[in-house]
């Protein structure tokens, strides 16, 4: 990558990666950010993406689905041993292409999350586990009813009845 890992802190390296990725959307050279063995785990989406090209493809898909996607870094924790945690808030409107099998709903989403990153010796992202509330994302894009709406309360009511029924059958 264009930075010099041996002279930059991991925090500075990762802030540069995020700036190029989310502010400039510069995916022209995925090998600047990831190696062929890198992995990004989006467990809330049931998805682990491996290798620089596939990870870049994931972000191209995200930007195509949410064209105004903006990711703001709230805080970075750097252990000075190659582990970096980035707390962020992402905002945008789901107006573009389908994403992860979901048709665009036109709704706005605001998601807070955290990336737990381990850098490799070259200052690239080796592993990243992305934590965000998948259920909240589903609510905001309209895949699930809004919290405390009538539909939400009915869903909870049906779920509780199903649980009680299963419990009764077990007895």
């Amino acid at each position: 990558m264009s930075t010099t890992p041996e002279t930059q802190s991991a925090e500075a390296q990762i802030r540069e990666v995020f700036r190029r990725l989310f502010d400039e959307r510069d995916l022209s050279d995925p090998s600047a950010f990831w190696s062929d063995t890198s992995s990004d785990a989006f467990l809330a989406a049931g998805l682990t993406v491996r290798g620089a090209d596939e990870i870049a493809g994931f972000f191209r898909g995200l930007f195509a689905a949410v064209p105004d996607w903006k990711l703001e870094i709230e805080n970075v924790v750097d252990d000075a041993k190659g582990q970096v945690v980035v707390q962020w808030t992402g905002t945008g409107r789901f107006t573009g292409a389908p994403f992860l099998g979901i048709e665009p709903t036109g709704r706005s989403v605001t998601i807070r999350g955290v990336d737990v990153i381990r850098l490799d010796a070259d200052g690239r992202i080796d592993t990243n586990t992305v934590y965000y509330d998948g259920a909240e994302f589903a609510r905001q894009v309209g895949l699930l009813p809004a919290r405390d709406s009538l539909a939400d309360r009915w869903m909870m009511h049906l779920f509780n009845n199903a649980t009680k029924l299963r419990r009764a059958v077990k007895r």
């Binding site: 934590y131 509330d133 998948g134 077990k170």
Partner: protein, 142 residues
């Protein structure tokens, strides 16, 4: 044992008196997984004292890794385990901590990784007072 490991140890032991000593008594702020906020460590411990015993004997936080950052920050990567109708559920989560000079927790920010839409351990009561007020105001606007 680090401050965060001490917190996790006492949390899993359900030793709430000892747990309260992990927090700053005068400067505390917790942001929960829904953006719900608690501004007092006494209120947070009271909440845990009410809720944790209701979550069943199997409820615990399993540590994946804990590491310290520079400037008094620390991070715990965890899995929250609890049992529902004999089925073990596992919710990965991260807590980012700020510690004061005495190693007491002043800030906690929680991030869950729910795949399903079941309420978190602690149910919807896990949401803090400020969030409830916001929801009531929101409903009134509607």
């Amino acid at each position: 044992m680090s401050a965060v490991e001490r917190f996790l140890d006492r949390y899993n032991a359900r030793d709430f008196d000892a747990l309260s000593e992990c927090f700053s008594a005068t400067d505390f702020h917790r942001v929960g997984p829904y953006g719900d906020e608690i501004d007092s460590s006494a209120e947070y411990v009271a909440f845990l004292r009410d809720v944790v015993p209701t979550l069943g004997a199997s409820y615990r936080l399993v540590t994946t890794r804990v590491f310290a950052g520079e400037g008094g920050a620390a991070v715990a990567e965890l899995v929250e385990e609890y049992e529902v109708d004999g089925e073990l559920r596992r919710t990965p989560e991260v807590i980012v901590f700020d510690l004061d000079a005495d190693g007491r927790i002043t800030r906690m920010r929680l991030y869950v990784q729910r795949v399903h839409d079941l309420p978190p351990a602690g149910g919807r009561a896990a949401m803090g007072r400020r969030d409830r007020v916001a929801r009531v105001c929101s409903q009134r606007r509607v």
